[in-house]
């Protein structure tokens, strides 16, 4: 800690520490990134199987936009296949603006676009106790096998009961599904 350490030595020490820090981080980066990819794939696979119960396998349908550096294409939707390889429906992930932030909804629809087969909420940041209840099975199970004509809040004549005090969040989930099914009709 002598006062007359020259600038060169100070810089040299800082660089040395920075290099060691960088090395430590790169050692951590590899395994965690691999684990992250595994986590993400697992979560998606679980969600897909849940929302289209009849399906046993899913086939990605790619769009033409590149989404990351590895040159992967964006996934527009998933084609849900049963044991003999027939298309029984479509599954998708859709982002929708809720009351506090983005809500990512995973939804499934049957092959003729007549009914929703099921949904799960992948991500959200809604108010605890109110909007956050969209992840509650009491809410999501209402979407199981609901016809497209009934995919509205009860106050609008549909079959989905609103969460008390969280109309915006409830409506956002419905909007996500309706919007995506409309898009799917054009894409398929």
């Amino acid at each position: 800690m002598s006062k007359d350490e020259s600038v060169v030595i100070i810089i040299g020490k800082m660089v040395l520490i920075a290099v060691i820090a960088a090395a430590l981080l790169s050692v951590t980066y590899g395994p965690t990134q691999a684990q992250l990819k595994i986590n993400y794939d697992l979560a998606q696979k679980e969600a897909l199987l849940e929302i289209v119960p009849e399906a046993v396998d899913f086939e990605e349908v790619y769009g033409d936009q590149v989404i990351n550096e590895e040159g992967d294409l964006e996934i527009l939707y998933y084609r849900a296949l049963d044991a003999s390889g027939n298309t029984v429906g479509y599954a998708f992930f859709r982002n929708q603006v809720g009351s506090q932030g983005m809500i990512q909804v995973a939804g499934g629809v049957d092959a003729k676009f007549t009914r929703i087969t099921g949904i799960t909420i992948m991500k959200h940041s809604e108010t605890p106790g109110l909007g956050a209840l969209i992840v509650d099975p009491d809410f999501t199970s209402q979407f199981k096998d609901v016809g497209m004509e009934n995919l509205m809040l009860t106050s609008d004549g549909g079959k989905i009961d609103v969460i008390t005090g969280a109309t915006i969040s409830s409506q956002a989930v419905i909007d996500a599904l309706r919007g995506q099914v409309d898009d799917l009709k054009k894409q398929v």
Partner: protein, 204 residues
């Protein structure tokens, strides 16, 4: 030997990061919606605190005084980033709950405070003891806050899927919302200060 015990206890009582030094309130208020989050946050902070205290103490003779703060920050930031990446990969649920407060451990005053005030002046062993003490103090407060808010806000304390206590009330959502954090810390702080004031009167 008794000095070791004293140094450890000091981190929990007089130098308690929250009640003694009033540092690290930001993560305390933000993440203590449940016991589980409190433990997660405290574990992350403890890891960074212990590692950085030990490393800084070991390097204290080599660190030029003029640039010690940038160097502390590099060391702390490295450990925080390791915690951040590991938690994201291996405990994804907790990571989503704690969110931005993991990266923010970098600027947590407890860690830079202990580095500057203690590790920079004392040897590796005592720095380790000091870090352990502070980490324990932080953990205890986080768990206490988390427990109070979780039981009142959700009606049960259920860390890591084990329901420890469950009471049959209509839970007050207020308690797990941000104002509940301020209310809880205010009441706890008032109790602690009331006791301190009484001790002063008695002349202890």
């Amino acid at each position: 030997m008794s000095k070791v015990v004293d140094e450890y206890i000091r981190g929990i009582t007089t130098d308690n990061p929250i009640f003694g030094l009033v540092l690290g309130l930001c993560p305390l208020l933000a993440v203590t919606t449940s016991v589980e989050n409190g433990i997660g946050m405290a574990a992350g902070a403890a890891f960074v605190l212990i590692c950085s205290n030990v490393i800084i103490s070991a390097l204290r003779k080599q660190i030029p005084a003029a640039v010690r703060l940038p160097i502390f920050i590099i060391i702390i930031a490295t450990f925080v980033t390791i915690v951040d990446m590991s938690m994201e990969a291996f405990t994804p649920d907790m990571y989503t709950q704690l969110g931005v407060f993991i990266p923010l451990i970098v600027v947590n005053c407890i860690i830079i405070g202990r580095a500057e005030a203690y590790a920079n002046k004392n040897n590796v062993f005592y720095s380790l003891i000091d870090a352990l003490g502070s980490a324990t103090g932080f953990l205890l407060v986080l768990v206490l806050m988390g427990a109070i808010r979780e039981i009142l806000g959700t009606g049960a304390i259920a860390p890591f899927g084990y329901t420890l206590i469950s009471i049959d009330i209509n839970p007050a959502t207020f308690m797990i919302m941000p104002p509940g954090a301020f209310l809880t810390i205010a009441i706890l702080m008032a109790i602690v200060n009331y006791r301190k004031a009484k001790k002063l009167v008695r002349g202890d």
